[in-house]
């Protein structure tokens, strides 16, 4: 049975944790022989993979062929507007190129042009970090009378806090994260095996779409007065919506 912290050691090894968690994992490794051995093995394996595998370079003939392909490719007329550019891109990509072009097109669409609000990225990163690190909660309490006043001293907002354990959403604590250049309040719930982070911060004028899925996590946004809320989790939409309804019922 591997140590429960082995995933965190791996994340630390891959440079995927913040400084605070890194220090915590280092302390853990001083005590845990198993994680020490894991860390050393990960290092040995990386050295072996990077040094022992044969270096692979593009064959010169392939590189030359690709350069010829590029030169033979007609250059598209320079578009005047972004809309037209995307339109032409779709026509060009889909006509006569079949499934591969469609797959590649999807990749472009997913990766490049339709970037939603940056706050979505911030929220997913904050959620994942909270799961990776020990920084899930700053104040651990199942009592809303402890969590709510605690926020008053730490953040600029005062979100609704309640425990819904009978309904399956157990309040486990609160945390402060930095979001959209503000100190956002995060109320943390546990639902079965899942953690749900409910972020809240002073709403900006920009409107956000209600439901977003990113990297497999669901983000449900709503607004109450001048507060912007977002619940983030890897639970299903229904479970997430049920909690937001409970919260909205209190407002």
């Amino acid at each position: 049975m591997p140590c429960a912290d082995s995933m965190r050691v791996q994340a630390y090894f891959d440079g995927e944790v913040d400084a605070l968690s890194a220090a915590d994992i280092e302390r853990h490794m001083e005590r845990c022989v198993e994680c020490q051995a894991l860390f050393e093995d990960l290092q040995r394996l990386r050295v072996a993979l990077r040094e022992e595998l044969p270096a692979v370079h593009t064959p010169p003939t392939l590189r030359a062929q690709i350069l010829r392909d590029l030169a033979a490719e007609p250059s598209p007329p320079r578009p005047r507007t972004g809309v037209r550019r995307i339109g032409q891109f779709w026509v060009g990509a889909v006509s006569g190129l079949g499934a591969a072009a469609l797959a590649a097109t999807l990749a472009f669409v997913l990766l490049a042009p339709l970037r939603p609000a940056p706050v979505v990225d911030e929220l997913v990163v904050a959620h994942v970090n909270s799961l990776l690190s020990t920084h899930l909660t700053d104040v651990v309490s199942t009592d809303r009378h402890t969590v709510k006043p605690w926020f008053a001293g730490q953040t600029d907002v005062s979100p609704v806090v309640a425990d819904f354990e009978p309904q399956g959403y157990k309040l486990i604590g609160g945390r402060v994260d930095y979001l959209e250049h503000q100190r956002a309040a995060v109320v943390v719930y546990r639902h079965g095996a899942h953690v749900i982070n409910v972020f809240s911060w002073a709403a900006t004028r920009r409107s956000l779409s209600e439901r977003v899925t990113r990297d497999g996590y669901h983000l449900l946004f709503w607004r109450a007065g001048d507060l912007q809320y977002c619940a983030v989790s890897d639970t299903g939409w229904d479970e997430l919506a049920a909690l937001t309804q409970l919260l909205q019922g209190l407002q």
Binding site: R63, D69, A101
Partner: protein, 181 residues
């Protein structure tokens, strides 16, 4: 040369080696890998205008992987499915540096083949995540984008791939102490 092509060659071509390396782990043979990369670069060039300031290497590797998936689907659709070609690890690439003595060279060579074989034996889902992390030095987020799975899945696949190699490769290397440097 027009401006578009110049920008493509400056931004995208530096990742050609990475694409070819990745393709070599995805495709069944060096020939297939070459076809795959040739196709992917052309697709990338045609869609280049849609690329906006995101990670170019991740974008390109996503295209390579998508082209590979398409090629696989097409192969499976054909009635005749060819058997995987016997992998020839010596296909024209020098494996060892010339400074090594013959004995060291053969040991190093054996070790290399073993590690390579072990990676080939990993399930594809695990192998690609391992290669992207360890060889291409991509972070979890980029790997999640390229392989289109959640971050948590990237982490668990990576842990399993590493666990399999730790077990098998270290056991083999330790059984031949002379091979440990």
């Amino acid at each position: 040369m027009d401006d578009r092509r110049r920008r493509f060659e400056a931004l995208v071509l530096p990742h050609l080696d990475a694409s070819y390396r990745f393709a070599r782990w995805l495709a069944r043979s060096p020939d297939d890998a070459q076809d795959l990369v040739q196709e992917a670069m052309l697709r990338a060039y045609r869609g280049f205008d849609a690329l906006r300031g995101s990670d170019v290497k991740a974008w390109l590797l996503t295209i390579v992987r998508n082209c590979h998936a398409t090629a696989l689907t097409q192969q499976r659709r054909r009635a005749h499915v060819p058997l995987p070609e016997e992998h020839d690890a010596l296909d024209g690439q020098a494996l060892v540096s010339s400074e090594l003595g013959p004995q060291e060279e053969s040991i190093r060579h054996d070790q290399t083949l073993t590690l390579e074989r072990l990676i080939e034996c990993l399930p594809e889902d695990y192998r690609e995540v391992l290669i992207l992390r360890e060889i291409e030095d991509m972070d979890y987020r980029a790997i999640a984008e390229i392989t289109q799975v959640p971050l948590g899945t990237v982490m668990s696949r990576l842990a399993r791939a590493r666990q399999a190699l730790r077990k098998q490769w270290f056991t083999q290397v330790e059984a031949e102490p002379s091979a440990v440097r």
